[in-house]
Structures are given as structure tokens and as C-alpha cells.
Subunit: 703 residues, 2 copies
């Protein structure tokens, strides 16, 4: 329906509609910039138009109609999600063959995800992810099953995790034993703990699965984890095949539109061609032949395909931050409570406390939006380079992408978790209504901190990368330099560490960045020496790394992330050529993000001597001596105050339409009480008497 040509004719100005009039008119009128211009700065012409067109399609389709107060049980959610998935195919919105416009998939994922995370996760797992993992893993396409999925004659699932093993994929137990007699692999689940679990789409609807299993040859030797294309259900009847037991995992905290499943194999036979591998094969006699000799490298090659998912989950986080803030900021600009003695009540956004709870998160939303976009551009470069590598090693480029996407996914999804919660609380009691939207947002988002790599484990990927670079520098004299430049400054680690104390005021972004680079270097060097000490003491690098996680490696990955987020935002600002009033606000947001983030690390800046300390404190006078911590905090509050009147405009710039946001508190008209009342009076059974009540009310007991 939407071909690229059709898309061109839609003028972008027609895609950014005025907000309806209401109580938000006044707060909006106080903005110092034009939110429509800001929207284009944030998203660009293509994304704005494409998302608008997707959302317009959804708005017209009854399968996508819903109200904030609608209630669904799990079965309803499953059914709706399946029906909508089918409708997405009818819409023909995406075209996976079109790589000329990398923002197409991104816009699709965000536009649909913001409507329903279950739907986009089901879609990407059953289609994009599945096809991609097959194509990138397979040298010659010699298996037709994937065509069914491409043609939507079936749905795909990825089966990796087992009940007893998630992060430690090496220990997965499912076996695939080659049988030369009939040139097949026999799949088995050797124990209860080896039950495949958590596979999205598997519970009710997958017809095909990419199954990860230990490959055994007839001589009894294990060749490590490989993936196999396995038919699991009949594409006509959706009945599982004999030899496979599949079940639905039941209710989860969220994402209940997605049917996560479990599966066991009992001598289930698949043809030899089911092995998905670019680099390994089994001969017809049952001999294992691999182009990659090292088993751990083979594993890396098999798992490499999964890393792109992290970037998309980072986008999920950014999107959820936008949704939550849109609701809370609009509500806070309209809701009034208390005021100066016997005067008018004031909007709660006028309180310092409410500003401090919300406005730094607006800064976060802008900085992380830019960070995601920047990582995504890098990823496209890496992706294209890999597929046109002609055998050249792209592993150093890949390592940097891996390190960035790992901490990016972890910190962004944790941040979104905190933003959603703060926004929920900032809306008080009404925020606890289902119709406010925060409950579903929080419950659906919650999975993001765990899947595709537990956040805590992911941060170790980033710190390992940094420590390895530093180790190579001081032990082997290697220069620290990377394709995307995120670590280049560390090459000057000695200069950076000796510069400490040069500045203890943070009145612009470069000064904050300077402090961040000091922090990264300080924690990197401390971590390295701590690791050395611990290795000497414990005699085992595994143990040493574990004993260096808290306060060292974890904090290192965190400050590296924050530093890079601020750095890339600053690069964006330096190249920004838009209107001055937009630039001013973007500058304030960047500085606020930097100060608010680094405030959490002030103790280490004190202890390291980076910032100077008062030699005496005069507590007897009312005028406290100016001090770095207090200065940073005052600057944060000052920026919140300056940005307060722009808060609504800043969320308007990324707010989705009302039918996508689906919140009684965050609607664009700002008519919070009318909208809440609509939720109250229209919910199912609002005014009725439940039919079970009569049987229970004849209470005879006495206390």
C-alpha cells in the first residue's frame, strides 16, 4: 500500500498536525521554539512522514481501534496480536528487500511498537529476526522452509534459551546427533532442565523454529552449539508434529500478546540440510568440517547474528521514555494543587520538586534519542562493511559496535524503567489507573532489561572491551584507536589523569565531558590494577573479574556510556545549523543531561582529587562557601527552571498521536478531567452490579 514512490508525494507539513485546543494551549504558548521545527530536527523528514502514514493506517483500521480503559485477558491479547500481525502483512508497509532506506525498518518498528510492544516483538521475532538469522547464518540457501516464513505461510521462532541456561549459551544441553544411515539429525532434550523456554511466537503459532543444539557426530564427539531449521507445526492446522512437545508458557508480567513457548524433543528427526551454517558442515559419512577451527570463534560466529537485536531494544527504551514523559509532562502542566497562601492553585510542573523529577529525564530523552540514531548509523556502516567484506576482518569494528550496543541497551532500558516509574508517581493516584497507561508500559518494558542479554551481563561486555584495549596498550604498546572513535581519547589516558584538578566548575558541556573522560580513564586504570591484584591473589581470571565488578567494571561501563552519550550529543550540537531558538534549548538539554548524570559521580571526583575540596567549612554563617557539589546542583535546578516553560513543547516534539499513546492523562488536548471521567464511566461494568454479588451478600456472620 505504501510504496516509496507514494511516500514521496506526501508533504511533511501535512504529517505534523496541530494539537487540539484545550488546557494545554497556555503552557504551549510559553514555549520559546516551534515544536514542529523541533520534530523535524529530531526525526527528519522521512521518519516523520513514514510514521505518520503507518499511524494513519492504524487509525482507520478496526483491528487497531482501542480505548485507554479497555481490558483484555491473556487470550484476548493473543488473539488481537495475531489478528494485527496478519493485518500488518495486508498493509504491505515494509519491504525487506529495500536496503536503500535504512530508516524504513526503524520507523516501522518504532511506530508499531509504540502502539503495541507485543505486536512488534511478535512481528520481528517471527519474521525479520528469523529470516535474518537464517540468511546470515547460511552460506548457500539449501532449505526451503524459510520461504514459507518470507511468504507468510508460517511463522518462525528462535529457540535458544533452556530452562537452566540463558546467558551461558555454551552449556545448552539440547542435542542434534547426526545419523549417516538416513542423513538426518536427531534432536533430543536430555533433561527437564534442557527444556527450551521463552521462545517468542512458539507457544501458539510458530510453524518453524531455528533451534540451537549441541551438534554430535556418530563418533560421539560434540562440536558445540549450532542452529537448525526445524519444522515444528503443520502450517495448515498448526498442530505440533509428533516427537515434539510444545506448550505455551502462560501469563507473564507483560507482553501477553506474545506467545512465549516451551518445547522438548523426543528423537525428532530433521534432514541434514537443516543445519544452518555458513562455516561448518557434516559430511555424509558423519565427519565434521569447519572453516573456523577454534570452537569459541565458531560460537561467536553463530551468536553474532543476535547482536542487532540490542540496538532495537535500545530504541524500545527510547520510545518508552518518550511515551512516559509525554503523559507525565502534559498532566503536570494541567494538574494544579496547592498555591501561595490563599491564592490560585498552581500547576504541579511549577514546583521545583516536580521539575527536578521530570525535566532531567526530558534531557535524557533527547540525548539518548541522538545516541541511538548515532549508534544506528554506525551499525549500518558495520553491517554493509561486513556483507561486502570480501574476507577482510571486520572484527575490530564489530567489537566496538558490540561494546556500544551492549552498554547502550543496558543503560537505556534501565533508564526507561526509571523514567516510567517516576512518571507514574508524578501523576499521583490517577497515574495508578490502567487508563493512564503506565502499568502496561512498565510491564511490557520490564522484559527489555533481561532479554537479548541481561543488563548486568551486558555491561561486562563493554568493560571487557575497554580493559582489553588498555591492557594491549600498556602491555604491548598498542595505540588505542577504533573505527568509530568512541575510545580514541583513552589513548591519552596519562595526560587525562594528570590533568585532574584543572577545573572544578562545570558551566558548559565541554567541561563536563572533560570530567567524564577523566572518570572513564580513572575507573579504567583502577579496574585494570584491581584485576591484576585479584588475579594474583585468586589465581583465576574468572574469579578476578567477578571480584572487580561492583564499583569498578560496572561503574566503568556506566561512565563510558554516559561520556559517549554526551560526546555524541555535543558532536550533534557542533554540526547543528538550525534556528537559534532551537539551538538554545538543545544546548540547555545537553548541559542538563551532563550535570545531572555526573552529579551521581561527585564522590569519586572528590576522592580522586579531580575536584578541589574546601579546606575549611564555615557553618556558622548563613552564606555557605561556594562548593562544587552545591554548584552542580544549583546549576541543575537552574536549568530545570529555564526549561520548564518549554517542557510541553519538548514532549510534543516526539509525542505520538493520541490513538497510539492511548492514555487518559496524556491526551494532546490536555482535558485531563474530562478524559479521566470518560475512562471511569466507560469501563466495563462501571455502573452494573456484578452477578456474583447477590449470592455473597446475605452475610449472616457476626464478628
Amino acid at each position: 500500500m505504501l510504496s516509496p514512490t507514494e511516500l514521496e508525494v506526501e508533504k511533511v507539513s501535512d504529517c505534523i498536525l496541530d494539537w487540539p485546543s484545550g488546557p494545554l494551549d497556555q503552557p504551549r504558548s510559553r514555549a520559546t521554539f516551534d515544536w514542529k521545527q523541533m520534530k523535524l530536527v529530531l526525526e527528519g523528514d522521512f521518519v516523520v512522514r513514514y510514521k505518520h502514514q503507518i499511524w494513519s493506517l492504524l487509525a482507520k483500521d478496526p483491528d487497531f481501534s482501542r480505548k485507554p480503559w479497555d481490558e483484555y485477558n491473556r487470550d484476548d491479547e493473543r488473539r488481537l496480536t495475531f489478528a494485527r500481525l496478519k493485518k500488518l502483512v495486508d498493509f504491505k508497509i515494509t519491504n525487506d528487500e529495500d536496503v536503500s532506506q535504512p530508516y524504513r525498518l526503524l520507523s516501522f518498528v518504532q511506530a508499531i511498537g509504540q502502539f503495541s510492544w507485543s505486536l512488534i516483538v511478535k512481528r520481528t521475532l517471527s519474521y525479520e529476526y528469523f529470516v535474518y538469522s537464517f540468511k546470515s547464518g547460511k552460506g548457500k540457501p539449501n532449505n526451503d522452509l524459510v520461504d514459507d516464513v518470507i511468504n507468510f505461510k508460517g511463522l518462525g521462532a528462535l529457540c535458544m534459551t533452556e530452562m537452566a541456561h540463558g546467558s551461558n549459551t555454551k552449556k545448552l544441553q539440547t542435542t542434534a546427533t547426526f545419523n549417516p544411515a538416513d542423513q538426518t539429525f536427531i534432536l533430543n532434550t536430555p533433561s527437564l532442565e534442557a527444556t527450551k523456554v521463552w521462545a517468542g511466537v512458539l507457544g501458539q503459532s510458530a510453524t518453524h523454529a531455528v533451534v540451537f543444539a549441541q551438534l554430535y557426530t556418530p563418533d560421539g564427539s560434540c562440536h558445540g552449539l549450532h542452529s537448525f531449521m526445524v519444522p515444528v507445526r503443520d502450517t495448515k492446522t498448526f498442530q505440533p508434529f509428533p516427537g515434539i512437545t510444545i506448550g505455551d508458557m502462560g501469563e507473564k508480567i507483560g507482553l501477553n500478546g506474545l506467545d512465549n513457548g516451551f518445547m522438548t524433543f523426543n528423537n525428532y528427526i530433521v534432514p541434514k540440510s537443516s543445519l544452518i551454517s555458513r562455516n561448518a558442515q557434516v559430511t555424509s559419512e558423519g565427519k565434521y568440517v569447519s572453516q573456523i577451527k577454534d570452537q569459541s570463534k565458531r560460537l561467536g560466529s553463530t551468536l553474532g547474528v543476535l547482536s542487532s537485536g540490542r540496538l532495537f531494544i535500545m530504541l524500545f527504551g527510547v520510545t518508552n521514555i518518550q511515551s512516559a514523559l509525554t503523559i507525565a509532562v502534559r498532566y503536570s502542566a494541567v494538574r494544579r494543587q496547592f498555591g501561595p497562601s490563599d491564592g490560585e492553585e498552581i500547576p504541579i510542573l511549577d514546583y521545583q520538586s516536580q521539575q527536578w523529577r521530570l525535566i532531567p529525564y526530558i534531557a535524557v530523552s533527547y540525548v539518548l534519542h541522538n545516541l541511538f540514531a548515532s549508534f544506528y548509523r554506525d551499525y549500518i556502516v558495520f553491517y554493509l562493511a561486513t556483507f561486502h567484506s570480501n574476507g577482510k576482518d571486520k572484527s575490530s569494528m564489530g567489537s566496538e559496535i558490540h561494546a556500544l550496543s551492549s552498554c547502550g541497551k543496558a543503560i537505556t532500558t534501565w533508564m526507561a524503567r526509571d523514567v516510567i516509574q517516576e512518571c507514574r508517581e508524578c501523576c499521583g493516584g490517577h497515574g495508578y489507573l490502567k487508563a493512564a497507561g503506565f502499568g502496561d508500559l512498565r510491564n511490557d518494558h520490564d522484559a527489555n532489561v533481561t532479554y537479548e542479554g541481561d543488563n548486568s551481563v551486558l555491561l561486562q561486555q563493554t568493560s571487557n572491551y575497554l580493559v582489553k584495549l588498555y591492557k594491549e596498550k600498556i602491555e604491548e604498546g598498542h595505540e588505542i584507536s577504533s573505527h568509530f572513535g568512541s575510545v580514541n581519547f583513552i589513548n591519552s589516558i596519562d595526560d587525562i589523569l594528570s590533568s585532574h584538578g584543572s577545573s572544578d566548575t562545570f558551566d558548559d558541556i565541554p567541561k563536563v565531558l572533560e570530567a567524564y573522560r577523566f572518570l572513564v580513564c580513572y575507573l579504567l586504570k583502577s579496574s585494570y590494577f584491581k584485576l591484576l591484584d585479584q588475579t594474583a591473589k585468586l589465581g583465576d581470571s574468572f574469579k578476578a573479574r567477578n571480584e572487580t565488578q561492583v564499583y569498578y567494571l560496572k561503574n566503568l561501563a556506566t561512565v563510558f556510556f554516559e561520556s559517549e552519550a554526551l560526546n555524541r550529543y555535543q558532536q550533534f550540537l557542533l554540526s547543528f545549523s538550525g534556528p537559534k531558538e532551537i539551538n538554545n534549548v538543545l544546548q540547555q538539554l545537553g548541559l542538563l543531561y551532563g550535570l545531572w548524570s555526573i552529579e551521581k559521580h561527585m564522590a569519586i571526583l572528590y576522592e580522586s582529587g579531580y575536584i578541589s575540596v574546601p579546606t575549611s567549612v564555615n557553618m556558622s554563617s548563613s552564606q555557605l562557601k561556594s562548593k562544587p557539589l552545591t554548584d552542580v546542583r544549583e546549576a541543575i535546578l537552574g536549568l530545570c527552571r529555564q526549561l520548564k516553560d518549554n517542557a510541553v513543547g519538548l514532549v510534543d516534539s516526539y509525542a505520538p498521536p493520541d490513538h497510539i499513546l492511548n492514555s487518559s492523562l496524556g491526551a494532546s488536548d490536555g482535558k485531563i478531567y474530562e478524559n479521566i471521567f470518560a475512562a471511569l464511566k466507560n469501563n466495563k461494568g462501571a455502573f452494573g452490579k456484578p452477578d456474583w454479588l447477590q449470592g455473597l451478600i446475605n452475610v449472616k456472620s457476626k464478628l
Copy 2:
């Protein structure tokens, strides 16, 4: 069924059952203390026996039977909660006339609440809270309606909050106008925004309501907020009376067993005797007569009744912390992932990172348990004193209780929020299953941070109290001294502030306490002077207070709370005469709590000069100079390591029975995989094909 006499015959040793054997045997065997002894230290003989007996009753009753994987829609939850509420009356567990045993109500609330928060909230709102608010507000009981509730012929509700006003109760708009012609009050809802909302039990089942309204006399003057006993539904048919519109608010984030309702009045008439007031009356001619002249004092008297609720919510928080930790610690002691190079996989609790995420929270659970018990004892003293006051002013005692319960409720419920989330994440993917229990725990708990006073607003109550005391000291020379002694140390504020720098190592609880007292004094003095400056600058104390919230008053209330929590724990330790091995563990927990809490305030300790700072940093050597921040952090990690083998025993000491905890991950047998698998295979429709699927799978579209 349970009379106090019967209770006496049950031996306490029969109430503490051995855990079933399983994978937790080994971790349990490493504990250095006897968890059964610890249980008695924590809860005492009476509470252990009473809770055991309640839980035994529930275990035998089919209405209280459930499984971790059960799914309920809102209507199911409402029905079950109502049926269980009725059953609680049949059980005759409590006896509200019995004040000789104040732990009875507490044990009842905790034992039932840990089973179902909806149930205990519905119970306490519809009964205890209702009767109490009536009895304490009414001088002479001249209204029979409350007897219906006492005799369980009806259910009560409290209607305070309106759609546009929650915290600012003064601005509530519902009117009650006295009509001398027929000696009645006429209730009206003057606007959409004045709709009564959030009243628990009102949505489907309340027959009586205590309604807060502005009292108007015929001369048109408003006498402020008063409460009225209002019949709202027929006790036989549960039909609302004409003149009242009642609706159910629909689905909420959690507590969906509780029917929160909304209500509007249209010239609804109640008799003159409906006015609930100890201190005010309207004469038959319509003249308002009050014993309290000051309208704000009248309001305080009316609202005073609500403060006890905060203490119980603090108990909700403590209980949720216990539930969440029980699940996560048991799971972490059994779940294994990774290990030293090619060796056995190790329990995830053996990782420094997992210890650091969970074990400080175990310390929190012990310290806050003690804090609640201590506050509760104080509250009983205050309660008895008030009801036997013989006209003596107990307001200073009341102010201290109010300040303590306000920060106690706020910080404890925020802490529980964080503990639940961390525990959920510590259990990885399986923690996302509904059967793990974290989703319901989090969603039900979420209300606690908002109701009975928004946490942010409550902290202001505590800081206002402290600032007022300090102001009276320096402006009027009053000594700072309180009945329960929580603020007495502040009287030495000048000495405490000048002692800074005396210690920068924190190797025992008294040294941490000393630093905490410095922090309280430092922030109190800073806040006071900041308020003075802001008042001079802004000319309005309302504005000045708002501009002093973040980093001053909010932090002041927080450190005061932490200081008092540690102080009361230390008092408990000093009086502890139990076994040495129990004492050792309790000491470690207290120090861990103190260090882990104060670590977050290290920057201010640096800036204030309380801890000394290195004059030079030698980053070129691998051995970093010993420094306070690093020392505190190392001590935290060291205590986590020391406590690790006791972690399971520490949660066993407060863990409820499995049928109450209701978690597939946290069951006492530690058979996590068998239990998870049971949840997978037994959930509704695990192996079936949904009936809607066939109609949707004939997918003809092509991408």
C-alpha cells in the same frame, strides 16, 4: 475460632515447621545460626503463633486455594476478594474490642496482606478504618449506621479524594448544606472535578460512606471540611440510593480485587445526626458551634484520624520486601550459571555482583522490620495517651509520631519498590513469569507510594517538623527534646557540626551513626538558612519552601529517616541478649545497612569537610592510596561476602509458607526447575490450540 485462650495452648515450636528437603539443603547447612531462633527474635512468640494459625486456616479453606500460575481477570479478582472477605468474618480471627494485645491486629494485617493485598485493604478500609474513623471522630455515638458495619450487615467506605484534589484537602468542593426546615444536610457535587474518586470498597460493595464535604450553614458561610456518615446503597440489594451516582473505577495497575469507586451527589439528603464530629455541631437553627476556633486546627483534628494508616502501609512495605527477597535469594542460591574456566557452574549468589544487589537489601529488611516495630510501639503509647489524655495536650507527641510515620511510610515504600524490582531482575527471564510472583507484588505495591499521602509530600511533613524545632531553638531558645527522643541529638547541633573531620573511617555502627547525625545537622542548618534566604528573596514562605525542597528538605528528611532507622536498630542491638551467633549476624546486618546507606551521601560528606580528602593521588602505582569512599565500598563488599552463606537462613527467618508466598521460583523446597515446569505445563491452555486460531491462519497475503 481463635480465642486468646485457645492461642495459648499452641506451642510456638509447633508453629515453626522444618523446610522440605531439596536443593536448598546445602546452602541452608552453611548458615552460622539457627533460623528458628532468628524467627523468634524477629517476630516474637505471639506473632509467630498467631500468623501460623491464620495461615493454617487459609491453607485448609478452598476459597484461599490458589497456584502461582492461576490467571484472574478483574471480575474474578473482585469476586474472590469479596468471598474471602466474607470468610474472614466467618473465621472470627480478630476481635476489635481486645486492646490488650496490640500485635493481634498487626499480625492479622500482615498475615492476610501477604496472601492478598486487595483483601486486606478491602478489609481494613471497609471495617477497621471505617469504624475507627467514626469512633474517633464522634463525641457521642448518635448514629446507628456504623453498627451495620460492625455487625457486617454492610461495608463502609471513606470518600475523601476528589478528581481534582488529593493532597490539598482544603480545596475539596463537595458541599453539605444544613437545611433547618427539615434538620438535614443536603450533599451536592458542584462540578465534574468534584466527583469523589478512589474510594476503596465504593465501586461495587460499600453500603455506608464517610464523606468529607465543606459544611455550609444557611447564611451561606462555609465552615470547612467535615465528615458525614452517609448511607449509599441498600444493604439488602446493594442498589445505590436515588440522588447518588456510584460507579466502579475499572482496572488499575494493581489491587484489582479492591473495588475503587467514584460518586457524585445531586441534592442528596442525610439527617443532621450524620455529621461526625467530636468538636463541632450545628444548632437546630443552623448556627455553627465549634470547640476549636481555628479552622486549620479543626481540619487537623478531622484528618488526624488518617495518620495511623501510614504505619500500616509501612508494614505493607516491610512485608513486600520480605516476600521479594525470599524469592530472589532462594532462587539465587540454587540457580547456577557460568563458573571458573571449564569447572562446575556456580550458584549466582556466589557472584559479587548478585551479592551486592541482594544482601544489602537483606540488611534493609532487618533494619526496617525493627524500625516498624519500634514506631508501632511508640504509636501504641501515643494512641493510649490520646484516649486517656483527660484534656491534656498530646500534640507534641503527635507531631513526632506524624513526622516519623510520614518519612517511615515514604522511604519504606520506595525502598520496597526498589527491592521488588531488583529481585525481579536478579531472577532473570524466569523472574518475568507471572508464576514468579514479582509482577503482582510490584503492581499491588505500587499504590503504596501514593495513597495515604504521596511520598514526596510526606517527606515535607518530616522536614517541616525538623525545621520548626530548629527555628524555635535558634529564634526562641527552646530546647529540642521530644517524647520518643528521635530529635534530641539535634539539640547539640553546634557541637556535632564542629566535630566534623574527627572520623573518616566507618568501621562500626556508632561511627556511622555519628556521621549520620552530622549529616542531619548539616542539612538541617543548610535548609534553615536556605529557607531564610529564599523567603527574603521571594517574599513568600510557600515559594521559599518549594525552592528549598530538592537537595535540602527532601535530603534532610531522608537522612533523618536513615539515621533514626540505624539508631533504633543500634538500640535494639544494645539490649539484645540472645545467642552470640545470632548477635554476630545482626551486628553485620546493621553495619551493612549503615554503610550501604551512607555511601550515597559521601559527596556531601566530602564537600562539608566531614571526611578528609587526599592531598595527592598517585595513579601511577597499582596500589591506590586508601581513601574513605573506597574504604566504605570495600567494607560493604566484605560484609556481603561474610553474610552470603547466611543469606538463605536470613530470608527463611521471615519467609511465609509456600501457599502464602505463591511463587514458582521462591518455594521453600528450592526445586526451581520442577516448580517452573509445573507452572508451564499447568497454566490455562498450555497445550491447547486457541479456538480463534483456525479462523486467522488461512493467511493469503504475501509480503
